[in-house]
């Protein structure tokens, strides 16, 4: 990675932009008042006393959306190199990429019909 010189400025930018929130926290730590109280430390629940534990079981549908997202994101990552060299590759590669996308469309239709994309 250190041989890719065009990314040097990216790393420098990453370091500097990481410094910005740290700087904000430091300045705020110096300037802000700290007056602790028992009511301030309790979590918000529309004005009533919080009931039960904060970490609850979450529904499976969040996981289903993330799963379908992973499948399609990997598909798009695979489509990027094909799109870059599209003009030199020609028609046979287009047919292959079409078959690839069609297989994934079949996957989308399956997930749709099976109810993986329902928020109910």
């Amino acid at each position: 990675m250190f041989l890719l010189y065009e990314y040097d400025i990216f790393w420098a930018f990453l370091i500097i932009s990481s410094v910005i929130p740290i700087l904000a926290f430091l300045i705020s730590g110096l300037l802000s008042p700290i007056r602790k109280g028992p009511e301030k430390l309790s979590s918000y629940e529309s004005g009533i006393e919080p009931m039960g534990d904060a970490w609850l079981q979450f529904r499976i549908r969040y996981y289903m959306f993330a799963l379908v997202f992973v499948v399609f994101d990997v598909e798009t990552v695979f489509l990027y190199p094909w799109a870059m060299s599209f003009d030199v590759l020609g028609v046979p590669v287009f047919i292959e990429a079409l078959i690839f996308v069609l297989i994934l469309i079949v996957g989308l239709v399956y997930a749709w019909r099976k109810g993986a994309l329902e928020w109910s």
Binding site: P21, S28, Y62, A83
Partner: protein, 365 residues
């Protein structure tokens, strides 16, 4: 003896020059970065002011007018106020996740500014992967939202964080596919190449005319990514007092606020670069007089670069009227409507757009 001392002096001066060279190299890298950060800060001030003035105009009231001339420094005043507020940590919340969440939201959005071109050689990092860097790094933002929701030790923050992350990832794929279609048209992912490919026919060479469906999908997806109305369910949940920002106070809340506007600005800049022709003047067949012929003399080059920056910013801020007026025009979408729109409507259409683009490119080959 004299020859010895002169050669020794020469060698000494060479070694000093070498270390100066390295220092010079590092400084030469830091100056553009700080200039860009300064530019982004001023851009955020302008965008916050613009949003408040336009919102005030639509709602028939007066916007900010006290902080600075015409209320321009309102965002700065808000930020300074937030710096002075107490930083509350929820008890038994995960302190590290609580602090890192908003930082990741800011950092991932800030990094995308490095590939936006303001002129031909006026881009911070002219990478080969260009727009793909924005797509990849903006995918890290949902991780920040999840961290904020989980680390708040609050059921509602947790659920709000999950919902915000679900919204964010659902609209990533139509966005990626639209950007893929644009890269296909320009045969390159580098933003400089994409703008150059739109420079031939002036106004008519914009990618907007070659990809109208893609533009609409990009608009909708980027509004959903920025969590602006009509997709601002995470924020609305906060109005109903829940959502991942509930337990936040002080500058951490300010970081979320800044991250939202940074995201809006970078999305609008990318619309300008990808669809509206970037830094080109876009008036077809304009003939520049010899004095302004770029690359020949220094004044011409400086003038050309300044014009490029001005044109990019004018296009971006004129485009920004659309998201800001949309905010006060359309009603908010419910969560299931939002996800249905992303998965069942935009994803098939963006796939169709991609196939259409590839077919038309094949026929023109």
């Amino acid at each position: 003896m004299i020859i010895d001392t002169t050669t020794v002096q020469a060698i000494n001066s060479f070694s000093r020059l070498k270390s100066l060279n390295e220092v010079y190299g590092i400084l030469w890298m830091l100056v553009p970065i700080f200039t860009l950060v300064l530019g982004i800060t001023i851009g955020i001030l302008v965008i916050v002011w613009l949003e408040r003035e336009i919102s005030a105009g639509i709602q028939q009231r007066i916007g900010p007018e006290y902080a600075g001339p015409f209320g321009v420094l309102q965002a700065l005043a808000d930020g300074t106020k937030l710096l002075f507020k107490e930083n509350l940590f929820p008890s038994r919340g995960d302190t590290r996740l609580f602090s890192i969440g908003p930082s990741i939201a800011v950092i991932s959005t800030l990094l995308s500014y490095s590939v936006i071109p303001f002129g031909y050689h006026f881009v911070l990092a002219d990478l080969n992967i260009g727009v793909f860097l924005w797509i990849a790094i903006s995918s890290i933002a949902p991780v920040g939202l999840l961290m904020s929701g989980y680390g708040s030790n609050n059921k509602y923050s947790f659920l709000g964080g999950l919902r915000a992350a679900a919204q964010s990832i659902s609209y990533e794929i139509p966005l990626t596919l639209c950007v893929l279609s644009i890269s296909l048209l320009s045969n390159s992912s580098s933003t400089v190449d994409i703008v150059e490919a739109q420079s031939k026919y002036g106004f008519g060479g914009w990618n907007l005319w070659r990809q109208p469906i893609g533009f609409i999908i990009f608009l909708i997806s980027s509004l959903a990514e920025c969590e602006r109305l009509p997709f601002d369910l995470p924020e609305a949940e906060e109005e109903l007092v829940a959502g991942y920002q509930t337990e936040y106070s002080g500058i951490k809340f300010g970081l979320f606020y800044v991250a939202s506007y940074l995201n809006l600005l970078v999305s609008s800049l990318f619309v300008t670069v990808l669809y509206l022709g970037g830094w080109n003047i876009s008036i077809p067949y304009i003939s520049v007089p010899e004095f302004f012929d770029f690359e020949i003399n220094k004044v011409g080059r400086v003038f050309g670069t300044t014009m490029g920056i001005l044109i990019t910013l004018v296009k971006t801020y004129l485009f920004l009227f659309i998201p800001i007026t949309t905010r006060w025009t359309l009603p908010r979408l419910r969560m299931d409507q939002l996800l249905n729109l992303g998965w069942k409507f935009l994803l098939p259409i963006s796939l169709g757009n991609l196939l259409l683009t590839t077919s038309s490119q094949l026929f023109s080959l």
